[in-house]
Assembly symmetry: C2
Homo-oligomer: 286 residues x 2
Amino acid sequence: MSDAASAAAARALIGDSEFDRDTAVFRREEGVYDLELSAGWTILGAVNGGYLLAVLGRALGDALPHPDPFTISAHYLTASRPGKAVVRTRTVRTGRTLSTGQASLFQYDEEGDEVERIRVLASYGDLAGLPDDVRTTATPPPIPPLEQCFGPEDGPDPLQGGSAIAGRLMLKLDPATLGWALGQPSGKGEMRAWFGLADGRDADPLSLLLAVDALPPTAFEMGLQGWVPTVELTVHVRQRPAPGPLRVSISTRNLAGGFLEEDAEVWDSADRLVAQSRQLARVRLG
Amino acid sequence: MSDAASAAAARALIGDSEFDRDTAVFRREEGVYDLELSAGWTILGAVNGGYLLAVLGRALGDALPHPDPFTISAHYLTASRPGKAVVRTRTVRTGRTLSTGQASLFQYDEEGDEVERIRVLASYGDLAGLPDDVRTTATPPPIPPLEQCFGPEDGPDPLQGGSAIAGRLMLKLDPATLGWALGQPSGKGEMRAWFGLADGRDADPLSLLLAVDALPPTAFEMGLQGWVPTVELTVHVRQRPAPGPLRVSISTRNLAGGFLEEDAEVWDSADRLVAQSRQLARVRLG
């Protein structure tokens, strides 16, 4: 657990937390942002796709006239590594309620040339400006209370051994979807967890982009091992989350031809569906 | 019903059908395609978003080294009109299994300047080259046999009066999701239909991009009236569809703050889930 996490009694604030420091972008010129991808959000050396999306989302939030990602679609091109990066943004259209932008994250090859890692299209708006009408048939995921769920730190064999990101997250998995960690996957493509940031920072629209891609892959509960790299991930942010831990439910219904979809829902402490996402991922059997 | 449709006994072939002619793109120079948006795919004057996506998908299929859209994300910027248009594509990355491209559709303002209508990011592959492993928990939508379902031509008051697209499609709606047409919406955000092209052309990956956005909006069955413009639509094409009519199921679980998601599933005659999509749409009450 990181230093900040041990100090969780004094909860980190939005704007002054590990997540905020590690997603910081520095405007070099209009629409161009320098940054450092942190090694703190890696799993076995690979930088987490949700963290990367949050970095891109933050740059776009600065570049566009609206603050919040309403829908953001990312295509993952090459594997990102911790270290220097640059985000280049473009404003596509500016409207009253929504503005649309494009962004690419680049890193550098040995000659110092830019290599594109991810390209994103997004439409931004202002969540605070929306009417509060809700009509929903969606219900929160059935997950036991937080203290009956299990995280990497609860097992003799860490669930995500060698994964720096485990120290950045408060992730407590529903025991009903933990069979894979005990060598007994259920065969169902479902995973549920309580989610927060280890230093106690509350959720905001940017951290929702992280939350949708932070659980172990559904493929593990389907009995598959190995790597499940994301091809494309689209997130809809539907509401500004209330303070307190989130519940995240992910599911896969269809694996075919070596590809699967993974859907995520994120619920806040006020029982509101605050984000939905879907990704297309490749199954690379280990 | 169009001339071609009346001749449906002699089914139109892929490559020689209304859909193929109306999505034709003509390469002006590398990556740039001229075309004419047909008035045949409009609903009350608005060009159908799935038809537009198929046009963009066709241009990208020509520009990229791989033929089939595996995942394609479109952000809709301004309203398209029937008439002249140009698609400009860019190859983002070329890999062995997947290549990624970007495309924009433009039309012309009164001065002849280009106005961007839609921007798209997509990853293409070769559906024919995929292994045929399938693990799925998804089941086909519960829909009565085709002859027990109803289309615009079956009612005294056409379901989509004034809509040219009705003549291009074979669309037969499940009576259980037709309450809205009789002034008695169920309140549930679900719609199911048999789907085909009126001239009998079989489905292919491009026409799946049309199929996901061809049903009346779920909002109608939720008791809402008015316009539901798409902000963003992402489609995953999972399999090459078998010949025969498709079953399309769309659903909305959550309307909040004036926005809703609409998920679509498309099943082929071999009971395979051939496409999944999700869109974020705005609700503009009439």
